[in-house]
Amino acid sequence: MSTVVSAQQVSKRFRDVTALDDVSFTLEENRIHGLLGRNGAGKTTLMQIMTGQLLASSGRLTIDGRSPYENETVMSRVCFIKESQTYPQYFKVRHALESARLLFPGWDEDFAQALLADFRLPLNRQVRKLSRGMHSMLGIIIGLASRAPLTLFDEPYLGLDAVARHLFYDHLLTDYAEHPRTVVLSTHLIDEVGELLEHVLLLDQGRVLLDTTAEDLRGQVVTVAGPGSAVDELAAEYEELHREILGRYARATLRGTFGTAERARAKALGLDLEAVSLQDIVVRLTTAHARSGDATTTGTRKKETLR
């Protein structure tokens, strides 16, 4: 397993705004990585640094061991699909595809044609006259057919309907299986892509909040529900991320180890264990983090009451 992207204490400041604050992580080769976080968390800034469009204020980020900034060798191996991609005024869909063919050494024209047919994208329409969703389709087709060893998708599906999004997921999975490469997927639709991801990097306010495999994360966070006293007893041994109370009944989201023994213990206490989706985990972690960041005293946890 080799490292494709390595970030060491990367920070990026724009005047008085700190977009990235001492970010360190590595992305392993041939995996699908999820880059998650709320708006303004620093996802796009990070991807811009990874693709040589921005220079970090401090720290070091490398692709295959080299700095991507103004480095043609590195950039021919990287494909960055972003929501705000612009093309020259007169460009038609086929011009955009022809440019991509010239740009990416691994370009697969047959695959691009198959994707065009699947997405029903008109070749001779001007790019600026495409709908929001069709514009996204064009980006997805280029991103997939480029077969770049490092492919980054930044919110690739604005305006895409559910059918087109699932076409994207299916093509991504099958093509990735046949032609393994490193994929970074930045998205808000976490529930839709949760099971496609092998590794999750969660940013919050410019910092890395979570850097783990999706599989580990699934076993780490669980919701338990039942009598409040039983929830209290179990919660004492875990990091509590969230709690809701309905009379004497409580539901708590806990973080820690939940193996067979721990599950049996929760059941013996009369508690029901529920799965927590990746989306909920991210919501709970980012809100819990925001609370602990605001609080002046630690150990106080806000409890919501439902009546």
Binding site: E195, E198, A214, E215, R218
Partner: protein
């Protein structure tokens, strides 16, 4: 894929279920990791982890360059293991619920007999 357990375990269990109910016969070829990933819309590495667990346990075996196959004797072995787990997985919650409702063991047995006759 639902439920809180790791997805690779659920994949392994799905294949086991197919072996136990005969959908996948012994010595039959098992879908490839990539086929499983595409079908369940999960990461191929996750599907591979589930398949590899079954290989480690001797339920499946690899034929180099061809694929994965169900081992001879896998069905009986899986059935034995599931029978051992049956009490913990099914009887325990049944008795806990019965206890909560004040149904004692005798009444529970009568209910099972009546259920059997009613079918």
């Amino acid at each position: 894929m639902e439920d809180g357990r790791p997805i690779f375990l659920q994949i392994a269990e799905l294949i086991e279920n197919s072996i136990i109910d005969g959908t996948l016969a012994e010595e039959a070829q098992v879908p490839s990791t990539n086929e499983l990933a595409a079908f369940h819309r999960i990461n191929p590495a996750t599907a591979g982890k589930g398949v590899n667990q079954l290989v480690d346990e001797g339920t499946l075996y690899k034929k180099r360059g061809i694929g994965m196959f169900v081992a001879t004797g896998a069905r009986a072995k899986l059935r034995d293991r599931r029978r051992e787990d049956f009490a913990q997985q099914f009887l325990h919650p049944l008795l806990a619920e019965a206890n909560k409702l004040g149904i004692d063991a005798d009444e529970l047995k009568r209910m099972i007999d009546r259920w059997e006759q009613g079918r």
